[in-house]
């Protein structure tokens, strides 16, 4: 997937542990771990809202788009 969740980076900046954040946003550790490791297929707006509130950040700080190699090749092929 091209979307990378930068939760670990923001958490490190705020010096907050996974357990602490999970407790604050009332999510299980395993679910937050799924989010952190990038295994999640979807995220609820409610969850995003809670994370942004607790980490005092914007959704854009948490999400990052990185084009896949396949997508890059396609784009490159089109311009040549």
């Amino acid at each position: 997937m091209s979307i990378i969740f930068r939760l670990d980076r923001v958490m490190a900046d705020r010096k907050m542990s996974l357990n602490e954040l999970a407790r604050r946003i009332q999510l299980t550790d395993s679910n937050l771990s799924i989010l952190k490791t990038g295994k999640a297929k979807a995220i609820r707006v409610l969850t995003l809202d809670a994370i942004c509130r607790e980490l005092n950040c914007q959704p854009g700080d948490l999400l990052e788009y990185q084009a896949d190699e396949l997508t890059t090749d396609k784009e490159g092929g089109g311009t040549e």
Binding site: L27, N31, L32, I34, K39, A40, K41, A42, R44, T47
Partner: protein, 168 residues
């Protein structure tokens, strides 16, 4: 009525299929022994002639006289071919029962939309197709087609379940 979980229909079917598996196995062993004896008797031909001489006749035997005659007149090679054929049918039946029992056991443990179940249903449908070919049964073929459709439904269900599980 509860369909999944403990003390449910799935739980009952799982136990029932486990018992059925043993019953089929015991009956097939008895049939194998009885079948071998029948083949030996029919090829020897002494016992039936002796019975006829002594006028010992069993009513059921009289009724099945024609079948017995047909069986007795079969070549020995054909008679011995019946045994592996029956063994194949029983083996297929036992495998199908095992898969079904595993499936209902998973349902009993509340594991419904899972890759293992999709795999089990797919295997069951393939075994059912083989069973219908071996036994020339149209109904088995119909069941196998229904199972194949059910497999596709379970595949979609598993994908949805996975998506749900990975939604945070």
């Amino acid at each position: 009525m509860k369909y999944f979980g403990k003390k449910s229909l799935s739980s009952f079917l799982s136990s029932f299929l486990r018992v059925l598996w043993h019953i089929v196995l015991v009956f097939s062993i008895i049939a194998a022994v009885f079948g071998t004896v029948m083949i030996i008797i029919s090829s020897g031909d002494h016992v039936m002639t002796e019975l006829a001489k002594c006028n010992i006749t069993v009513p059921e035997m009289e009724a099945n006289d024609k079948d017995w005659e047909t069986f007795r007149n079969l070549p020995l090679g054909v008679k011995f071919f019946i045994m592996p054929y029956m063994a194949a049918v029983v083996a297929l039946l036992l495998k199908i029962i095992t898969r079904a029992q595993q499936l209902f056991s998973n349902f009993k443990n509340d594991v419904v939309f899972n890759k293992t179940n999709v795999h089990l249903i797919s295997k069951m449908s393939r075994l059912m197709i083989a069973f219908s070919i071996v036994t020339f049964s149209f109904y088995s073929l119909l069941v196998s087609i229904i199972l194949l459709m059910l497999c596709e439904i379970f595949k979609s269900g598993t994908a949805l379940q996975e998506e749900h599980d990975l939604t945070v």
